[in-house]
């Protein structure tokens, strides 16, 4: 009951948020357990995750990243995305006023569903990466007809 109440509350909050003006979301820097050989800053991209009957959709905001600089891997039920920006674009630019940090993006999720490794598709548009991870056939709900 309390869980349901909480959900309803969350829903109203979301609809409220949609009518409001956009606010700046702070870029969170990634604190990784593993270290990188190259000293670079990594940020956690804002991510939406949806699940439909046959697939899991992961949508990430990776502004400034080109298609070629994105790496997506699924290993041991962990989907990992690494998106690198090109710092060379800022060469010759002298910062005079800054509001956000510049760095690469990385994030990984442990999947709770079995994913068909062969059927992962990725799309990039306007700085938004959309991953579609098709669920493995065995994990899909099976309709059983009652005779």
């Amino acid at each position: 009951m309390s869980d349901r109440k909480y959900r309803i509350q969350e829903k109203t909050e979301n609809t409220m948020a949609r009518t409001q003006a956009l606010e700046v979301q702070e870029k969170k820097e990634q604190v990784s357990k593993e270290e990188k050989t190259v000293p670079a800053r990594y940020f956690i991209p804002n991510t939406d995750i949806y699940e439909t009957e046959d697939a899991l959709t992961v949508i990430m905001e990776v502004p400034g990243v080109v298609k070629q600089a994105i790496e997506v891997s699924v290993e041991n039920d962990v989907v990992r995305v690494e998106a690198r920006i090109d710092p060379g674009k800022y060469e010759g630019f002298e910062p005079v006023y800054t509001e956000y940090n510049i760095g690469h993006f990385a994030r990984s999720f442990t999947l709770s569903n079995k994913i068909d490794q062969q059927e992962i598709s990725a799309q990039l548009g306007d700085g938004v990466l959309t991953l579609t991870l098709k669920k493995a056939k065995a994990a899909m709900p099976r309709q059983i007809a009652v005779n």
Binding site: N14, A17, R18, T19, Q20, A21, L22, E23, V24, Q25, N46, T47, D48, I49, Y50, E51, T52, E53, T57, I59, E61, V62, P63, G64, V65, V66, Y90, G92, F93, E94, P95, V96, Y97, T98, E99, Y100, I102, L124, D126, G127, V128
Partner: protein
Amino acid sequence: MAMLFSDPFDSLLSFQQALDTFRASNWLGASPSASGTYPPLNVFRKGDDLVLIAEVPGIRKKDLQVQVKGNTVRIAGTKAVQYGDNNAVHRRERLAGRFDRAISVPVEIDADKVQAECRDGMLALFLPRAERDKPKSIPVG
């Protein structure tokens, strides 16, 4: 009780004072009509000119509006996040909504030569400094 029968001249005087402070202050003055802090932006200097770069992931070009007047740049638009039907939402971090922001830069901009570029969720505005605003070099004779 004393509050009820305050001196009318006293209240008129304080009203006058409040009005004067309001007029003398920078607050609520003739500022651009836009408000808000989205999108976050960085301003760089390149030679004489300024480059303004904003992160606008998920915003289509046609939903962006850029205006320049004098030394003020206005960026407005809408960010839409599509939610499909029949979806179980596990995580929702991306925000959607309208935004309208204006900033003033400390140099005068040549509005006719401003270039705007939007690629991969980044908006870049090239703001060339107006010729008449550039400092003149005076040779020491």
